[in-house]
Amino acid sequence: MVKFKEKLIHGIFFFNGLLVVIVLLGIFALLVFTAIPAFKEISLHEFLFSSNWNPTSYVKSSYGIVAMLVSTFMVTFGALLIAVPLGIGTAAYLSDVASTRVREIAKPIIEILAGIPSVVIGFLGIVLVGPFIAKVFNLHNGLNALNGSVLLAVMALPTIISLSEDALKSVLKSYGEASLALGATPWQTLVRVKLPAALSGIIASCMLGMGRAIGETMTVLMATGCAPAMPESFLGLCAQ
């Protein structure tokens, strides 16, 4: 009986795992098969190397994705530049410095931040961050890559903080104690012992944060102006 139960549960888990893989392959196949007909009309060379995106052109449609790739990476890179130091710093504070009470209040709030819909964040980008950036850098408008980066950083932060904090917490207690016993200050213990020990978890958290940033549509579309031109700088025009 027990053996049968074991086998059943084993089977259920195997089926679950398989299902996820099948769904993933299905999505991939669907994307590929529906996209292939497009390449009968568009040359692959134009698609990959032209920076001219204008499918609804008055004269001649063009389908180059370079400008969009460049600006996506630009915005994501900018977002990580802001979110990674801030995120790891917050995680270190929450795990090592903050009192239990602060941590218990702050952590759920940070996690709620992850649930804010992207359209709301985009709206804040238009009415709050955009005008602020325009004022600080003396520009005419704040629809640029920097605006997108700031917003995406806000969206990536909860993931980075939450997972990094978990990683820091799961570092063996004896490591920290040993370091302190050898005469290291709490700062040295944190930076030289705990952070390196939790590095793999922290990197994973940053990757997941980046995943959220790079795939985000709505926020970036609203906050960067969505012009299909090649971006000139972080403060210039930005494609989506």
Binding site: T56, A67, G130, H140, L143, M230
Partner: protein, 293 residues
């Protein structure tokens, strides 16, 4: 802000109806962002008078509305442009026979920041500005300031209409693609170097923006889209009819609602929303197209 409120009401209305089971009588109207506030308002007034009728109005752009009509997922498509021949063929493949009704007139308004001294432009200048050939305000009589372009996203009917009627070429790659009329008004308000185009209903009460007077060619009179006579007579060069498309001759609830839109009462609401009532030539057109005037 009103637009976001409108979207919120639509969402909450949708949730309400879903929880009540699918209402049999509910009309689905979808499409143009230029028309959404107007049709929303018409629908509200209509529902107040007919408590048992339900109408859901959603946006997305004229392209989205027309695609929904072709796929049979909406009853009325709002469109600020005409259907393309390609779309009509697609429709007949799906057994859809689109009929056009003109419900209002729009003077497509070119707007600049109130801090900008340029208050009149010719069609040619507007075309050059949006094609990216004129890039500084000093070339059209303003101060030495680079021009920032605000336009619509590509599934917008206004995007297509403005391109075909004014630019007759492609938009500059540097034009910001905004997701609605209200967003363009907001952006131009904040940006002293900005220029954009929106339906006239969006500028009537907007503070902080200039409505540019337009001449069809240099030498001819400059006219404002806020002048209803110039829009109706076609003297304002970028006037356009605002349309709704339905499948086949109107029947039942659809016919009833369109008749309300075209009635003096409906046309009065259209004027209150900042657009203009339909002139006689389009009344005749409607009569031929759907038998309503």
């Amino acid at each position: 802000m009103r637009r976001y409120l409108g979207i919120l009401t639509v969402i909450s209305a949708l949730i309400f109806f879903m929880s009540n089971g699918y209402a049999q009588d509910m009309l689905q109207i979808k499409g143009s962002d230029t028309l959404i506030n107007l049709v929303q308002r018409l629908a509200e007034e209509y529902m107040e008078k007919n408590p048992k009728k339900y109408i859901a109005v959603t946006g997305g752009g004229s392209g989205t509305g027309i695609a929904a009509l072709i796929n049979g997922t909406c009853d009325i498509a709002n469109a600020s442009r005409l259907m393309k021949s390609k779309e009509i063929t697609q429709g007949s493949d799906h057994g859809i026979d689109p009929k056009r009704v003109v419900i209002a007139m729009d003077g497509l308004s070119v707007i600049t920041s109130a801090r900008n001294s340029v208050d009149k432009l010719t069609m040619d200048e507007i075309g050059k500005i949006f094609r990216g050939e004129i890039v500084n305000w000093k070339d059209v009589g303003g101060s030495d300031l680079p021009i920032t372009l605000y336009g619509r996203q590509s599934n917008s009917g206004t995007f297509v209409f403005f391109r075909d009627a004014v630019l007759k070429g492609d938009y500059s790659q540097k034009m910001n693609r905004m997701n609605g009329n209200a967003q363009i008004v907001e952006a131009v308000k904040q940006d002293a170097s900005g220029i954009g185009y929106v339906g006239v209903g969006y500028v009537k009460e907007a503070a902080g923006v200039n409505v540019v007077k337009v001449a069809s060619r240099s030498g001819s009179d400059y006219t404002s889209p806020l002048n209803s006579n110039d829009v109706k007579s076609g003297k304002y060069p970028i006037a356009r009819p605002l349309n709704q498309y339905i499948n086949g001759s109107p029947k039942g609830a659809i016919k009833d609602f369109i008749a309300f839109e075209l009635s003096p009462e409906g046309q009065k609401i259209i004027e209150q929303e900042g657009f203009f009532p339909i002139p006689d030539e389009y009344r005749d057109f409607n009569k031929k197209s759907v038998g309503l005037e």
